[in-house]
């Protein structure tokens, strides 16, 4: 990666703040579900925190993001407020979607979080359209579409990357390669050695990076964002990472290689990053401890806020199907 895109200390601290929030939020989510306080299909992103934290640090609030069922890390990194998030996954009326969307369909346009989809591959065609809008308006907003390694084998991936390249759209295809698609290991599903290699099929810039390395990940993000803003078209970033837990909460992950998993967890990117920030004097232990404590408090408040929020009324069952008050 071109190192002139490396993040300075302040930026690294920004990235860490996000990563710490994401990690704490995932741990809390699993605890809350484990203790039965909330019931929902939960797709843990534990282990993948650095990717959206670094990506978001290269964006502004005005930029757009389209994510997937395993996307709460993306949304928090992009700025979705904890209260709105927790109230939504609790199915409450104060949630971003009044409780109607849930964890797989969280939406928060105020921060550019336009769509969360539960369909593999479907973040990409829609991201293209948002980017087309930016291209038409002449604003310099960038659109990020996240998806997984398994999604790189579905038709929508191909159609989307081809169209984005032909139309030179300001879009970034961010593949979070955690080596598994549900229970299937990468090699068994994907003919390409690297997802990034597929960019060549579209004459598109493509790069594989260590998504768990904030410096490398930020540099790739920054370069892609500059390319998009400069009108030079899309980028495919394959960010290598690992999913610490099963596909969905409750999945015993018998299919995962134990040694591989153990090694990945030992190399947990968030504490490693934390240690390095201190070692390099970018932040002090106390500083980071204070940040983390503040995060815990915010999450406490968000969980309480969510559980105190009322459920939507039954009238919501048939509301928002069509616009209200529109003829027919």
């Amino acid at each position: 990666m071109t190192s002139n895109y490396a993040p300075d200390g302040a930026t690294q601290l920004e990235i860490y703040k996000r990563a710490a929030l994401l990690k704490a939020n995932d741990e809390r989510s699993r605890k809350v579900i484990m203790t039965g306080r909330l019931v929902m299909p939960y797709y843990s992103y534990r282990g993948q925190e650095i990717i959206p934290s670094a990506m978001a640090a290269a964006l502004t609030d005005a930029d757009y993001w389209v994510t997937i069922y395993r996307g709460i890390h993306d949304m928090l990194a992009k700025g979705m407020p904890l209260n709105d998030l927790w109230a939504e996954i609790a199915g409450r009326v104060d949630g971003t979607c009044k409780g109607k969307g849930g964890p797989m369909h969280l939406t928060y346009p105020k921060k550019g979080i336009m769509v969360t989809t539960g369909i593999v591959g479907s973040s990409m065609p829609i991201a293209n359209g948002i980017a087309w809008g930016s291209q038409l308006s002449g604003n310099d907003r960038v659109t990020v579409a996240t998806f997984g390694d398994g999604a790189s084998n579905i038709g929508a991936f191909h159609e989307s990357l081809n169209l984005a390249a032909v139309w030179k759209l300001p879009v970034i295809f961010l593949c979070q390669n955690n080596l598994y698609g549900e229970h299937t290991i990468y090699e068994k599903a994907t003919a390409a050695k690297r997802v990034a290699d597929r960019a060549a099929a579209y004459n598109m810039a493509g790069v594989r990076v260590n998504g768990n390395d904030p410096v490398e990940m930020f540099a790739a993000a920054r370069e892609a964002v500059e390319r998009a803003r400069a009108g030079e078209g899309p980028t495919l970033i394959e960010a290598m990472t690992f999913r610490f837990h099963g596909h969905v909460f409750g999945d015993a992950d018998a299919y995962m290689d134990k040694a591989q998993k153990k090694a990945a967890i030992e190399a947990d990117p968030v504490p490693l990053f934390r240690a390095r920030l201190i070692a390099e004097g970018i932040a002090s232990e106390d500083q980071l401890a204070a940040i983390e404590a503040a995060i815990e408090t915010q999450i406490d408040e968000a969980v309480e806020f969510a559980l105190a929020s009322p459920f939507p009324g039954l009238e919501e069952l048939t509301r928002d199907v069509y616009a209200e008050g529109v003829d027919a």
Partner: protein, 333 residues
């Protein structure tokens, strides 16, 4: 071509649609057109509905796409989320099958799933219909699928004026609209619509008043129904013809009022009868008018089969004026 809309002489449905697109795009810069071959370097569409648009409004607003229907609908959805009103063409209705995820799981649901934060004001234009000898994969009427999909609106005009007015309404609508155009009827002549003419969605039209039997239809088959009127007259039967125009949400009031008057109803369409649009209308009428009907609501659609190629079979596949007249007579006698 846009001035076709103001001509006194009759226009074709192609001309009316082209005028509607021209007039709408001239009124509102946020309207976009995308699809395979829609721009003028690609001939402005395989049938010419979008001819002249890219020349007049520029190739940024009117874009030919690769053959990639998921990408086409996805691009329309995305642009609609950030303030544009895209009109996406899926060349033939059978090709919606490769874009159903984008249409059904996304376009139709984003408003609801986002709790009303976002909406998808797109129009999906698509053509279909038997009569051109194109066989099993190019002529299906699949409107029942989309009518069964909460969040979608489904429109199917039968004449140039309605084509214009429904297109203007569909473009104005804040939710996704599937706009069905009949291929063999594209060149059907009819009264020229006035510029700006809008036909509200969800409103049927009494195409012809009558007293003995109500015939409900839409798209090309509506014209077959109109063509059956004379033969019915000769048999002493006065048929009221209702053009549904919007299939979902459909105009229960107008249809029920007519059948309340005639006490007999035939629903006819080109789609397969089983589990088709006629079933919903028949079930509703029997409920709304229980005990008041002189005969069960009759349904005349295509047989339970794919569209055949061989001309005599294809001709026997979709309802014709003759078979509609026969079915109506059977209801009355």
């Amino acid at each position: 071509m846009s001035d076709a809309a103001t001509q006194a002489k009759p226009v074709t449905i192609v001309q009316a649609l082209n005028a509607a697109l021209n007039d709408a795009m001239a009124d509102d810069d946020s309207i976009l057109v995308l699809g395979e071959d829609v721009a003028d370097p690609e001939d402005g569409g395989v049938v010419g509905v979008t001819k002249g648009l890219s020349t007049r409004f520029g190739d940024r607003r009117v874009r030919s796409t690769p053959i990639a229907e998921q990408a086409i609908i996805g691009a329309a959805i995305g642009a609609s989320l950030v303030g544009y009103k895209p009109i996406a063409e899926i060349m033939l209705m059978n090709f919606t099958t490769v874009a159903m995820d984008m249409i059904v799981n996304h376009a139709a649901k984003l408003r609801f799933m986002s709790g009303g934060q976002t909406n998808v004001p797109i129009v999906i234009r698509t053509m279909t219909g038997t009569g051109m000898g194109s066989g099993g994969q190019h002529c299906d009427y699949l409107e029942a699928w989309f009518a069964h999909t909460a969040g979608m609106k489904v429109v199917a005009p039968s004449n140039p004026a309605d084509a214009y007015g429904l297109m203007r309404a569909a473009i104005n609508d804040p939710d996704p609209v599937l706009f069905i155009e009949n291929l063999p009827d594209y060149w059907r002549q009819g009264e020229a619509p006035k510029p700006g003419h809008v036909v509200p969605l969800g409103r049927a039209r009494v195409a012809r008043e009558g007293t003995d039997v109500t015939i409900v239809s839409y798209s090309r088959v509506l014209n077959e129904a109109l063509a059956a009127v004379e033969e019915l007259e000769r048999a002493g039967i006065s048929a009221e013809i209702i053009d549904l125009r919007t299939i979902s949400p459909w105009d229960r009031e107008t249809v029920c009022a007519s059948v309340a008057k005639t006490a007999r109803c035939l629903v006819t369409h080109e789609a397969v009868t089983e589990f088709g649009v006629g079933a919903e209308i028949a079930a509703t009428l029997h409920t709304e008018l229980f005990g008041k009907l002189k005969a069960p609501v009759a349904r005349l659609g295509a047989p339970y089969a794919p569209v055949p190629f061989s001309n005599p079979l294809e001709t026997a596949y979709a309802p014709t004026a003759k078979r509609i007249a026969e079915a109506a007579m059977a209801l009355v006698k």
